[in-house]
Amino acid sequence: MISLENVTVDIPVQIQGKRAVLHNAITEMVGGVVTSRSASRLNVRALDNVSFTLPSGERLGLIGHNGAGKTTLLKTIAGLYPISSGTIEVEGSVRTFFNLSAGLDASQSGLKNIKNVALFYTPDIAEIEHMVPEIIEFSELGDFIDMPVSTYSAGMLARLIVSIALNFGGENLIMDEMLGAGDASFMKKVNARVHKMMESSKSLLFASHATEIVHQLCNKVIWLEKGRIKMMGDATYVVEEFNKTL
């Protein structure tokens, strides 16, 4: 269960130079609201009084235009961003899937990178050792797993990082536009694995620009605009209303 009550997140932005021009530029770019100014700092209100409850077993999609606050909301729930006011309650473990290539070291082999990146998902080394053969098999990289990642093509790199990520399920899955690169047959495997993960998770929070995928995977959708909830409800209805604005 994930529950947010009047959550507001202000992000400090350091500025130099012509403040007035930058002030307007930032407001346009991020879609958020610039709330306060001091001599050298702006606060961008990335989330404004957001409240909702995601009961166990539900799949919540997040849609909205660029800068609406989708990633900020997910990162705040994951505990990466600080809350300026309000409270969040999360029941159970949280597994985050943001920048899948974070922690990757191109000079090391694929195998070493599996262990390294996995150690950011979980500190349990025994669990990781147990998963390594499965991750290697899922990636279909074969002997390339022992080569430095700097020798990989973009597709191979995508296989590696997605394979690592998809082996770590959790009670609450928080995904931000993670499903992407890879050839058709690999993407089929990825989708099947994502579905399997979702079956064994309690809740799913999924943000994406691809509204069809959100519609497929989620039963409820929140439409965020400028850090506020514009609409929340049944996936079909909200996606339809959002698509009308495109």
């Binding site: 600080p82 006011s85 969040i88 974070a102 922690g103 150690l119 950011f120 500190p123």
Partner: protein, 266 residues
Amino acid sequence: MMELKRYGNQRFSLLFDPKWLPHCLHFLRQDLAKQYDRTALGILWVLISQTINISGIAFVFSMVFNTELKDFFPYLAISILSWGLISGVVGESPRLYHAAGQVLNAFPIPYGTFALRMVLRHFVIFAYGLPVFFAVALYFRVPVFPLVLLALPNLILLFLLLYPLANVLGVLGARYRDIAPIVGSFIYLLFLVSPVIYEASRLPANGKWLVILNPFYYLLELVRRPFLGQVPGLEIYLVVAVMIAVAWTLSTVFDRKYGRYIVFWV
């Protein structure tokens, strides 16, 4: 029920869940291996470079200072190793969180793991250099035992200072990008000014302030005296205790006030 209260900064604390220790040790081993990756001798380079460094300075400066090599060489050996440990942590701390930017934005892991990995790495490199000191001490028959055993608790005290200090400088360095080059440019000057190559007792009375007001002097004495078979003076322990208290206080204050912003600064 895991409740995230206001500000969600619970992950910014130096006192993190011990279940993350294997994670730290894994990356500690990897950081050490990477430093000497694809070199013929690996981490033995620490021994070789320290041997060349220490021997070169010892021969030259024993002539300059007109001092006996048997007294100067062991003192210099342990001083340079100790300086390497202390200045290594101080010099690297302002950039502690910069390299971790991507990871900090993707995974909710404790911040303390970065400081711990870095500080422990410097302790390991110090340990790898110790054979040079012991070889010199053996040759010049320095009576290291039994007081060398005091080195262990003293090194623990040093760790208790360097760990929060790394965090304090790391937070400052994340917020103010100037801190890293400022610290870097002063490290060399501090090496010459601090009693690393010279003994503090050689300073004239009007020069004593250079050591009394120099925090590095107390840390150097804390580490090197046991290795030379001596006990550091009480004033050394008192000053170090105060430094430890200040470091932990500052670290806790920074934690509460600024920890939540690090993810935005890097």
